[in-house]
Amino acid sequence: MAREDEKADAMEIDGQHQQVANTAVPDGFNADYLRIYYGKLFPHVDFFKWLSYGNDGKHPGCDQSYVGRREFSFTLENDIYVRFQSFDSVAEMENSIKEKCPFKIDIGPVYSVDPAKRHAYAQSGNNVFVPVERELIFDIDISDYDDVRYCCSGADVCMECWPLMTIAIKILDASLRDDFGFNHILWVYSGRRGVHCWVCDSRARKLNNEQRAAIADYFRVYKGGENTMKKVSLTGAVLHPFLARSYTDVLKGFFEDKLLLSQQLFASEERYQKILDLIPDENVASELHDKWQGNRRSSISKEDVNATRWEQLKSTLQSGKHKGLRRCIEEIVFSYTYPRLDMEVSKHMNHLLKAPFCIHPKTGRVCVPIDPNNCDDFDPTTVPTLSQVFQGIVSATIAESLQGGIRKLIQCQAPAVQEYLDLVKFTQLPADLTNLVPHEKLLLHETNH
């Protein structure tokens, strides 16, 4: 019954599409192109192979029901939200995606039973419908950094503030590998304002909620929500090895060499006051404040005012005069640069997360994988939009990362799967598509019937 309803919805969508037939290539998101994207470009096979983790029926000892117990959820046009979809085979998934043309695909956990049949089990009352496996996931949003960036706010992002995401990737990636011993980690651009992380090791997928929360807390430095002035408080005589390493390897250099200048952190009274507020000794803070306010006009020196003031602040705090303020330098750096995680996403097995390779419905950008080893080179503003993909303007690096990310995961996860993974189509398609575009109308008719 439900399936029939869903079909009806999908057909309605088809009907609407035919009225809006464009000949020019519009920028950003466009439902017609989305249909072609799912038809020709979306890596159904590899995507499905990834989520099967080797349980594909070809290997002895594999769990054939595994992938069929995974929840997919679709957001259709008109904001119809269809949860608890499940697919036993790549063909089934591919057909459903092509037919429904979801604006967004979310991936949920693997449940104890097929989520599409959960009601049948619900009657037995023994709570048998429970999540049993799920990648360990992280979600970092640039909009959570609004108090430390002055170039943009909200969902906007530019190359001045994006590096905050880049260092978040570096810090988490290093710790997930070195501290927690995970190897199969996929970083994905969320399509608009942040990054997602999928830790796919089987050990990670089997973590219970308490263990997930423990990892999230291990990464958490921010305390106290919106209503405490000082959000980072580092206690103890020294820093934990993880924090110490993050500080010396990444945060300190980033703060002093990049953020200080790119965000002009000391350039105005309002801005430096925010930093001074983090100093617990009011006398020290007001001493610095007065000094900077006094020489406001005389700052013709060649030295950058931000760098100068930061050095002044540091030497004041480090001077033996003020006991217990040394740690404050680190606290300021952590406050401004340390990754800010959406904790809820990581703590619970049954949180949904947008699938890689989706198209962001607002920006039209492809949710491409990010290579953590070259994340400095990643520029969200050049990630191809759906329409650019069709015009063939896909840079070589993006194309590589498109095919690279998932393939690596599959290779590591199921060593038995040795066959060549045909992701090449991703790099070759744009050329073909340029030819396809003018015939788009025709093509749509074909796919509809």
Partner: protein
């Protein structure tokens, strides 16, 4: 005096499949059911005494007590309610009361969670009080397969271990016995960064071994509770409907107080009254969230849960709740996105989606132990606000001078619920003897007071 013969059997069944093992020293692991005869009154009395201990622990946790303070508290609670001159008696009472409460608290997810977390905390601090010898005995009883770190490996990571020790205020001289265990086994140590981690292993000092034992303990009790629940619904409840079932049901209600998940029939609040009610009757945590919601047209997940469930408990109907959240959120994210991304979870809170279980409004204890992050407005202001922000917020409620200082004093001593109770008293001009332990209780007590005042005014007017 009646002898409860069947109890032996019940408890035995409840623990079936969990294996055997008595207790090292005075600390039992509850893996085996007691082979004891229990009088019906003892069945109840023992359980009530243990509940007093668990409730005391819950209070301690909600005040954010530090581990050393918790250790002291547990010691005192145990002495006051459980200790007997005769150690055998103490042990019997310990075991019997634990198994009775298993029956009481096995019946819903919420009850199980509470019981599990309090029993685990109790066990943790009792373990810390044991002698090293009996600690080692307990370790072997749990069959923990860990060997101490060999010297060569120890030398290789010694510096890091000392670094971690110094972060938690210990001297740099490293303990000499460490265990290398999968990090999954010591989630509490990982969460608070009290261990060195490398390649998936946590290096646990002998003095931290309690975490390993507690993980095992927790896991055993958790499994046993699920099993007991099955037995309870399948057989015990019916078999014992004239004898034990009423006691068991009374016991869980006796402690938890009124259930705020369903508003009392008569009470219902409507959309247009929310702002007015907030001014007169919401506790500070909820006022703050309403204010932020009106200001930002958005609240993050933790806030939506805490505030949304509170409104439900206060009597806001689902339809109104949807309208309420939509009116704010649509200004920020548009109504489309609201319907798509947020409406679901609101219906979920009302049990209309997903598991269809009703979500219970959060208690103060739960709210106080929350850990709000960037952009979050949930939590308890008394606990989570900085001093200046809290003063300003209380000022805004019209509280100043002496009462304000008294409240701040309570906050400094981490008596958050007391601070909230005093706020209530200052605001309403009446005393609140029960103390505040639930935001919905704050609300309904406040409404009661205001109604009484209204009636007094009216009757004065008519005479």
């Amino acid at each position: 005096m009646e002898i409860v013969r069947s109890h032996r059997q019940i408890a035995a069944e409840a623990a079936a499949g969990v294996g055997c093992g008595g207790g090292a020293g005075g600390l039992p692991t509850y893996r085996v059911a007691p082979q004891l005869e229990v009088r019906l009154e003892e069945f109840e009395l023992f359980a009530i005494d243990r509940l007093r201990v668990l409730k005391g622990i819950a209070d301690g946790l909600s005040r954010g007590k530090r581990p050393e303070e918790m250790e002291k508290l547990v010691k005192e609670l145990w002495k006051a309610h459980m200790r007997h001159q005769d150690p055998t008696e103490t042990l019997n009472k310990d075991i019997i009361s634990h198994f009775v409460l298993r029956l009481v608290y096995c019946r819903t997810e919420e009850l199980r969670k509470w019981f599990l977390s309090m029993e685990t905390t109790l066990f943790r601090y009792r373990f810390r009080l044991e002698s090293p010898e009996s600690q080692r005995m307990l370790m072997s009883e749990f069959q923990l397969p860990y060997k101490a770190l060999p010297h060569s490996e120890f030398e290789a990571v010694k510096d890091k271990l000392s670094q971690v020790a110094r972060t938690i205020g210990q001297s740099a001289a490293v303990e000499s016995v460490f265990f290398k265990v999968p990090f999954e086994e010591v989630p509490d140590l990982v969460a608070s960064r009290r261990v060195f981690l490398s390649k998936g292993y946590a290096y646990v000092a002998m003095s931290q071994v309690v975490s390993l034992v507690v993980t095992q303990f927790r896991c055993n009790i958790s499994k046993a509770l699920v099993l007991t629940n099955r037995k309870w619904t399948a057989t015990i409840k019916e078999q014992e409907k004239d004898r034990l079932t009423p006691i068991v049901e009374a016991l869980s209600n006796a402690y938890f107080g009124p259930d705020y998940s369903q508003p009392k029939d008569a009470v219902e609040i409507s959309l247009k009254d929310i702002d007015q009610l907030a001014k007169t009757s919401f506790p500070l945590c909820m006022r703050h969230m309403l204010e932020k919601l009106r200001e930002n047209h958005h609240l993050k997940h933790g806030g939506r849960m805490q505030f949304g469930l509170f409104l439900k408990g206060a009597g806001l109907k689902l339809e109104d709740a949807l309208a309420f959240w939509r009116a704010e959120f649509s200004q920020k994210v548009g109504s489309e996105r609201f319907d798509k991304e947020y409406a679901y979870s609101i219906r979920h809170n009302y049990g209309k989606e997903g598991k269809r279980t009703d979500y219970t409004p959060y208690s103060c204890q739960k709210i106080i132990s929350a850990t709000p992050g960037v952009g979050d407005h949930h939590g308890c202001p008394y606990r989570h606000f900085g001093e200046d922000n809290l003063r300003a917020a209380l000022n805004k409620m019209g509280i100043s001078g002496h009462p304000l200082e008294e409240i701040m004093d309570k906050v400094k001593n981490r008596h958050y619920q007391l601070a909230c109770t005093m706020t209530f008293e200052a605001e309403h001009g009446v005393s609140c003897d029960t103390g505040i332990n639930h935001p919905n209780q704050y609300f309904s007590e406040s409404q009661k007071v205001l109604k009484a005042k209204n009636q007094a005014v009216q009757s004065q007017g008519t005479t």
